[in-house]
Symmetry: C2
Subunit: 262 residues, 2 copies
């Protein structure tokens, strides 16, 4: 259920760990205050934004995971993007209702910015508008990378590619955890809906990667045991390159420490 946050607005924009990576990084103090003025808490599994709804808002993820999805009329679902802290949705107009929905995957806190308010701020601050364009360009590149996966990569490559991307993104957006692990709050059905496969087939690909000692994945935790093998399985032959994540590093070093520092 959607619940009003006990106190409107996130507690403290100055301490926000994703501020520099998101739209607020380009906002002066006054604008930042307006952007962070409202927030909403959503429980895991509930919709932050229902497909077809007219919310009139932009949402910036503050804490937790969500996914952007499209539902077809017969119930098939495509997950378009996983949303991490700092990610933004709602820039696309909603005449006739939002084309895409967003569902919380964990308990979620999102900053709520009425679209009109954002436009007013941005009309006076070119830096804000440009920053938004830059973020959208990153999203677009990420969407294209995803598109290539669905169109031209095998099931195994898709799974490896997505795990690598999520591992990398989570490391840069969420306070790092001890060891080369991340919390991955997704079911195999989520991976299936993101990758255009069935949960059964996702399961087989994951088991294979586990059997080969490439990853460990249990109880919502992902550990990348062999980053190079995972990159190879994802189809990277020379270097790891994630347009839209801002990540590019040569292959050939072992260990995981390089991730997030390039």
């Amino acid at each position: 259920m959607v619940v009003a946050h006990p106190r409107s607005g996130v507690s403290n924009c100055e301490d926000c760990i994703v501020r520099s990576t998101t739209i607020c990084g380009a906002a002066d103090a006054e604008a930042a205050q307006e952007l962070g003025a409202l927030s909403r808490a959503v429980s895991a599994g509930a919709d932050l934004l229902a497909q077809g709804a007219c919310s009139g808002n932009i949402y910036v993820i503050h804490r937790g995971w969500a996914c952007l999805y499209e539902l077809l009329e017969d119930g098939r679902r495509q997950i378009l993007r996983f949303l991490l802290p700092g990610d933004m949705i709602g820039m696309y107009g909603e005449d006739g209702g939002a084309s895409f929905g967003a569902q919380a995957l964990t308990p979620l806190i999102a900053c709520v910015v009425p679209r009109e308010r954002f436009l007013r701020l941005a009309r006076e601050r070119p830096g804000l508008a440009l920053r938004m364009g830059q973020l959208m360009a990153q999203q677009e590149a990420l969407a294209y990378e995803h598109l290539t996966s669905l169109g031209r990569r095998t099931a195994r490559e898709r799974v490896a590619h997505l795990l690598l991307e999520l591992f990398y993104r989570a490391r840069t957006r969420i306070a790092p955890e001890p060891g080369d692990q991340i919390t991955l709050p997704l079911t195999q059905a989520h991976l299936a809906d993101a990758l255009g496969l069935t949960p059964v087939h996702i399961n087989r690909m994951l088991r294979a990667l586990r059997a080969e000692g490439v990853i460990e994945l249990t109880q919502r935790r992902l550990k990348v045991c062999d980053p190079d093998k995972l990159a190879t399985a994802a189809g990277f032959e020379r270097e790891v390159n994630f347009p839209g994540v801002g990540a590019r590093r040569p292959l050939g070093n072992d260990g995981v420490a390089q991730f997030g520092t390039g």
Copy 2:
């Protein structure tokens, strides 16, 4: 081959038929002049922008068709987007080379805007920056629609969906032709690379649609004989809805005249 346009800049921005639909629509006279100052002609089949190149430019298609693509290391190709007059590429940074390439499908004229010049203009003109964000949001929505096709639609649905989208987009971007036809300068191999299928299978789907009297497609001309059947084949059950194209119309009227006038 890439050839310098005989006279730098397109002949006349005032007469540009896509001006209002693209970035230039938000530009004052001075900015418009700077945006249209340089252009480049590219012959059919040549790259406007090679994947991996560092051009430092934004390109706005002025005349002709192109496609944005990603090439995998083993030669597999994914077409990410078909570019029509008014479409823009190159907003995403190119540190280490462009992640995606763009190839002309017909003789092409594109306006060339050095990225630094655009940023300078946009820093002084919030309207320009906002317009860019709006266009990118449209592109993003279109990319998501494409993503859903590759992930969750059958081959037949994908083909019908893409034809409908291209038919609709071409009608709004290119001077309309007599009859319910458009020029579609694509080979079946292009459709295959866009839809994640093989040319052989594209051929079978097209033949089926032709045999059912839904479309006619010969010699680079597409005629939509039965728009409702095509919409149904694309998976639309109630209304045609193209996020990112700005098109939404109810099903149930015959004829094609409604397209492009909504």
